[in-house]
C-alpha cells in the first residue's frame, strides 16, 4: 500500500513566479493559493443568499445613468455581475467558478448558491489533501466515482409531484414570492412541462395571466388592410384553408393558381403563409371586392433562420394536414391541388401573430410528430437547441400562457420577472425529472453512504475522495441553517434523531416531515448542482500552473462629463 506521504508529490516543490516580457507564469503553491482566494471571495459574496431566508448583496452601479446599487439575492446573478477581480491569480479561481455557476443558472434556473458552497468545500479540502501529498489526478478520478454514488442515491430519493399546490411549493423554493409561486403553480399545472409560457413585465402592480387556445407564431398579417378594422385589428377565419410555403411571391400572377383553387372548391377563408410577398402582390390581395365570398390573410413564414422556418413549415403541415411548398426544393403553386391545402376549424391573425385552432391534420401523425421532436429534445445537449425544441413542442401541444409580472417600481418588476423565469425553468425540470427533499437534506442524506465507502476504501486517494465528499455534502444544509440564524451542529443533531423523511424548515423554525410540508427541490437542480460543483472542483484541483498574458495598455477613457467632448 502506498501512503500519501510515501509518494513523491508532483510539482509540489516551491517554484518562483516567472515573469517574461509577455506573460506571467505562476506555479504551486501560488496557484492553489491564488485560486482559493478568488473562489473564497466569490463564494463569500454568494453564501448569504442560500436558503429561504436569504440576505441581500448590494452590487455597485454598472452604468452611468443609474447610480443606485443593485440589490441581488441569487447566486447566479451575483456571479454574472462580478466580472473581474483585481488580483489576477484570484481572478482565475473566481472566473472558473463564475462560469460553472452561470452555466448552471442557464441550464436549470436555480441551485447556484448551493453549487458555490459545494464547489468551495470540495476544492478547499482537496487542496489540503493534495498539498499533504495526495495525487490530484487520482483524486479527481475518485471524486468523480463518488459523484456517481451521490447521483445514484439522489435518483433513489426522487418523487414525482403534480397538482397546482405542489408545483407552487416548488416555485416558492426558487422565487421566495408566494403570490408569484402560486400563479406559476397554476400555469404549469395547466400547460405542463413543455407548455409555452411567456413571462413579461406587467402593466400594473398585480400579477396577471392569460391563456391562449391553439397554436400561434410570431408573424403578423403582411398588411393591416387584411385585418378587421373594428378596433382590434384582428381577423378570425372559420373553416379556413391554409396555404403553407416559404415561397417568395414577387408577382400577383403567382397567386392565381391557389386563389383559383379555393374559389373552385367553394372555400371562403384562406390563410396564406409565404416567405416574402411583394407590394404588388399585397395590393392584388387587397383589391378583393368580395370579402364575403373569399377572405385572404397573408403572413410570412415564421422563424429567424432556415432551420426554424423549415420546422415551422413541417409543424404547420402536420397540424393542418397540408403540404409545405419549399422554395429550396423548387416548388411552385403552378400545379397546386386541393389536397395540398391544410385546413383548420379556426385561424386568426393580427398585427404581430397568427394562430391556428383545431388543425385538421391527422391526430395520430401529430402525436407521432411530437414524439419525434421530444426524442430530439432529449438527445441534444445544446442549451439553445433545447430551448428552441422545447418551444416547438409547446407550440405543437396547443395552448399557451402569458404571465405579466407587476410590481411597485420598474426595478422590482425586472427582478420579479427574473425570479419568475428562474422558477419557471425549475418547474419544467421538476415536472420532467421529479423532486428531491429540499433545504440541503437530499445531499446531506448521501453522507452515511459516502462515509461507509470511505471506511471500506483501501486506496488512500479513494478514501480521501469519499471523506471530502462526505464532508462537502453537509455544507449546503449547514449554510442554510446558519443563514437563518440557527446553530447548524445542534440542528443537524436534532435532525438525525428524527431520521429519514424529515427536514429543518427554517421558516417554521422546526424539524418537519418533508412529504407533509412539501419542502422539495427540483431533482434536476440538485443533481445538476452536484454534478457541476464536484466535476468542476475536481478538475480545478488538477490545475498546477497559471499563465497570465500581459494586459495591453488601456487607452484613457473619454471624459463623458465634459460638455466639450459631448
Amino acid at each position: 500500500m502506498i501512503l500519501p506521504f510515501m509518494r513523491k508529490p508532483l510539482a509540489r516543490v516551491m517554484q518562483p513566479t516567472v515573469y517574461t516580457n509577455m506573460e506571467r507564469v505562476v506555479f504551486q503553491p501560488a496557484t492553489y493559493r491564488g485560486m482559493q482566494r478568488g473562489i473564497d471571495q466569490l463564494v463569500g459574496a454568494i453564501r448569504p443568499t442560500l436558503g429561504p431566508r436569504p440576505r441581500v448583496v448590494a452590487i455597485d452601479h454598472v452604468d452611468y445613468h443609474d447610480k443606485t446599487p443593485r440589490l441581488v439575492d441569487d447566486g447566479g446573478t451575483i456571479a454574472r455581475l462580478i466580472i473581474e477581480l483585481p488580483d489576477r491569480d484570484a481572478d482565475v479561481g473566481a472566473m472558473l467558478l463564475r462560469d460553472v455557476l452561470w452555466r448552471l443558472q442557464q441550464q436549470v434556473g436555480d441551485g447556484t448558491a448551493t453549487a458555490a458552497v459545494l464547489f468551495q468545500a470540495v476544492f478547499r479540502r482537496g487542496v489540503h489533501y493534495i498539498t499533504a501529498g495526495g495525487n490530484a489526478r487520482r483524486l479527481q478520478t475518485f471524486l468523480e466515482q463518488g459523484l456517481r454514488n451521490i447521483l445514484e442515491q439522489l435518483n433513489a430519493m426522487v418523487v414525482h409531484l403534480s397538482g397546482r399546490e405542489e408545483l407552487a411549493r416548488i416555485a416558492e423554493t426558487v422565487c421566495y414570492d408566494p403570490p408569484l409561486a402560486d400563479m406559476l403553480g397554476e400555469i404549469f399545472d395547466i400547460v405542463g412541462e413543455f407548455g409555452r409560457v411567456e413571462i413579461r413585465p406587467g402593466r400594473s402592480r398585480e400579477l396577471e395571466r392569460e391563456y391562449v387556445e391553439g397554436m400561434y407564431w410570431e408573424r403578423g398579417a403582411v398588411s393591416r388592410g387584411m385585418l378587421d378594422g373594428d378596433g382590434q385589428l384582428r381577423t378570425d377565419l372559420e373553416e379556413s384553408a391554409i396555404l403553407i410555403s416559404d415561397l417568395e411571391i414577387k408577382h400577383p400572377q403567382q397567386l392565381y393558381p391557389p386563389l383559383a383553387l379555393v374559389i373552385r372548391n367553394n372555400i371562403r377563408s384562406l390563410l396564406m403563409v409565404v416567405g416574402e410577398i411583394s407590394d404588388s402582390a399585397i395590393g392584388f390581395l387587397l383589391s378583393n371586392k368580395h370579402p364575403e365570398k373569399l377572405r385572404v390573410v397573408a403572413v410570412k413564414t415564421p422563424g429567424h433562420d432556415k432551420e426554424q422556418k423549415a420546422w415551422a413549415l413541417e409543424d404547420l403541415a402536420v397540424l393542418t394536414g397540408g403540404r409545405a411548398f419549399v422554395q429550396a426544393a423548387g416548388d411552385t403553386f403552378e400545379r397546386i391541388r386541393r389536397e395540398d391545402l391544410g385546413f383548420a376549424r379556426r385561424a386568426w391573425a393580427d398585427c404581430y401573430n397568427f394562430g391556428i385552432i383545431g388543425g385538421k391534420g391527422n391526430a395520430r401523425q401529430l402525436r407521432q410528430h411530437i414524439a419525434t421532436v421530444r426524442a430530439a429534445f432529449e438527445r441534444t445537449d445544446n442549451p439553445n437547441t433545447r430551448n428552441l425544441l422545447r418551444e416547438r413542442i409547446g407550440k405543437l401541444l396547443g395552448g399557451s400562457a402569458t404571465l405579466w409580472v407587476g410590481g411597485m417600481t420598474q426595478r422590482e418588476i425586472d427582478e420579479r420577472v427574473e425570479r419568475a423565469k428562474r422558477a419557471a425553468t425549475a418547474l419544467r425540470g421538476a415536472l420532467r425529472e421529479g423532486v428531491l427533499p429540499g433545504g440541503g437534506v437530499a445531499l446531506w442524506s448521501c453522507r452515511p453512504a459516502l462515509e461507509a465507502r470511505a471506511r471500506a476504501a483501501t486506496d488512500p486517494d479513494e478514501r480521501a475522495a469519499y471523506r471530502i465528499l462526505a464532508e462537502a455534502v453537509a455544507v449546503p444544509i449547514r449554510t442554510i441553517i446558519a443563514n437563518a440564524g440557527f446553530d447548524a451542529s445542534e440542528t443537524l443533531a436534532e435532525l438525525k434523531r428524527y431520521g429519514p423523511g424529515y427536514g429543518f424548515d427554517v421558516v417554521r423554525e422546526r424539524v418537519v416531515p418533508i412529504a407533509e410540508t412539501g419542502i422539495y427541490d427540483p431533482a434536476i437542480v440538485t443533481k445538476s448542482v452536484a454534478y457541476a460543483a464536484i466535476t468542476s472542483a475536481a478538475q480545478a484541483l488538477t490545475i498546477d500552473v497559471m499563465v497570465h498574458h500581459a494586459q495591453p495598455e488601456q487607452a484613457p477613457l473619454p471624459d463623458l462629463s465634459s460638455p466639450k467632448r459631448l
Binding site: I190, V191, Y211, R345, A363, Q368, G398, G399
Partner: protein
C-alpha cells in the same frame, strides 16, 4: 317496445332518472330530436318541444343531473349548442358553444353537480367544452388535447377531490386532473406498441370506486376492450376471443368491484360478464340484419331481470328484462 317514433333514425344516447324505479323517466337522444318517456321506456314523446309547434332539433347526446329528482335538470347536445332544462324537459334554454358550430358527441356531468355546477361536452373537431355555471356559459379548454375528435368522456366519481376526467378520442385516451382545463396523453397501447397505434376509443367506463381501485375501462373501435387498474398508466386487453369489433358502450354494476358485473355493447350483441371479465356470455336481440346497437343504459344497475334500455340504428329503444347474467 316502442311507439310514436319513426324507425328510420338512430338513437345516439340514452339517459335515465336516478330515481327510475319510482318515476320511470328516461330520455333518448335521436337524429330527429330528444324524446322523453315516463313509463320506463315503453312510450315516448318529443321532449324539446312538448307542444309540437316547432321543428325538433337533431340531438346527439343527453345527460341528467345526479340530483334529477330535486333539480329536474337535463342537458342535451344539439348542433352547435347545448340545451338545458331545469324542469325535466318542459322548457329549454339553448347556449351556443362556439363558431363554427361544433357537433356535440357526448355529455358528462359532475357527480357533485349540486355543489360545483360542472358539465362537460365532448365534440367532434372542437375538443371539450366546460361549463362551471350549470350550462349558462361554455368555454373550450383543450390544453394538451392533441386530438379534438372526442368520442367518449367520463368524470371521476371523486371529481370534487381529484378533478379527474378521461376522454376517448379518434387516436386514444387523454386524461385531465385539472377539472378539464388541461389534458395529458394516456398511453393506452397494448404492450410493445406505440401509443399512437391505439385505435379510436368509442366508449369509456369508470369504476364507482375509482378513488380507491383506480379502475377504468376503454372500448376501442378495432381492438376490443381494455382495462386499467392504475388510473390509466397500464392497460390489459380483456375477452379477446369474444369482444371482437367496435365496443359502443360499457356499463359497470353500481356496486363494482364488490359485484364485478360488466356489460359491453358490441355491434349487434350485448356481452356480459359476472366475474370481472374472466368469462363472458352473449345476448343477441332480434334485430333486422341492417341494424346495430348504438347505446345502452342500465337505470337500475345490472341486476338480473332489471330493465336495460338499448338504442339501435333503426331508431328503436329496446327494453330488455332478460336474466342475462350467469354467475
Amino acid at each position: 317496445m316502442t311507439d310514436e317514433i319513426p324507425i328510420t333514425e338512430i338513437v345516439h344516447a340514452l339517459a335515465a332518472s336516478p330515481d327510475f324505479a319510482r318515476d320511470g323517466v328516461c330520455f333518448a337522444a335521436r337524429t330527429s330530436g330528444l324524446y322523453r318517456s315516463d313509463d320506463g321506456g315503453h312510450t315516448w314523446q318529443p321532449a324539446h318541444n312538448p307542444s309540437g309547434t316547432e321543428k325538433l332539433l337533431p340531438t346527439s347526446a343527453v345527460v341528467l343531473s345526479p340530483h334529477f329528482a330535486v333539480d329536474r335538470t337535463v342537458f342535451a347536445g344539439v348542433p352547435g349548442a347545448v340545451m338545458y332544462s331545469e324542469d325535466a324537459g318542459q322548457t329549454w334554454h339553448m347556449v351556443a358553444l362556439a363558431s363554427p358550430p361544433p357537433f356535440v358527441s357526448t355529455l358528462a356531468i359532475s357527480p357533485h353537480y349540486a355543489e360545483d355546477g360542472c358539465v362537460f361536452a365532448g365534440t367532434v373537431e372542437d375538443g371539450v367544452f366546460r361549463s362551471g355555471d350549470r350550462g349558462a356559459h361554455w368555454a373550450a379548454w383543450n390544453f394538451g388535447l392533441l386530438d379534438l375528435n372526442v368520442l367518449s368522456l367520463v368524470v371521476s366519481p371523486d371529481y370534487a377531490r381529484d378533478q379527474t376526467l378521461f376522454v376517448g378520442t379518434d387516436s386514444g385516451i387523454f386524461r385531465s386532473t385539472t377539472g378539464g382545463r388541461a389534458w395529458r396523453e394516456v398511453d393506452a397501447s397494448p404492450e410493445g406498441a406505440r401509443s399512437t397505434d391505439f385505435a379510436p376509443v368509442l366508449s369509456l367506463a369508470i369504476s364507482p370506486q375509482y378513488a380507491t381501485d383506480g379502475t377504468l375501462f376503454a372500448g376501442s373501435e378495432l381492438r376490443g376492450l381494455y382495462r386499467s387498474n392504475d388510473r390509466g398508466r397500464t392497460w390489459q386487453r380483456m375477452g379477446e376471443d369474444v369482444l371482437a369489433g367496435p365496443i359502443n358502450g360499457i356499463v359497470l354494476d353500481p356496486q363494482y368491484p364488490m359485484r364485478p358485473r360488466i356489460l359491453v355493447l358490441l355491434h349487434a350483441t350485448l356481452v356480459l360478464s359476472a366475474d370481472n371479465g374472466v368469462t363472458w356470455n352473449e345476448w343477441r336481440p332480434d334485430l333486422p340484419d341492417d341494424q346495430a346497437l348504438t347505446c345502452v343504459a342500465a337505470p337500475l344497475g345490472l341486476e338480473d331481470g332489471a330493465p336495460l334500455l338499448v338504442g339501435t340504428t333503426g331508431g328503436e329503444v329496446l327494453v330488455v328484462r332478460e336474466k342475462l347474467f350467469r354467475e
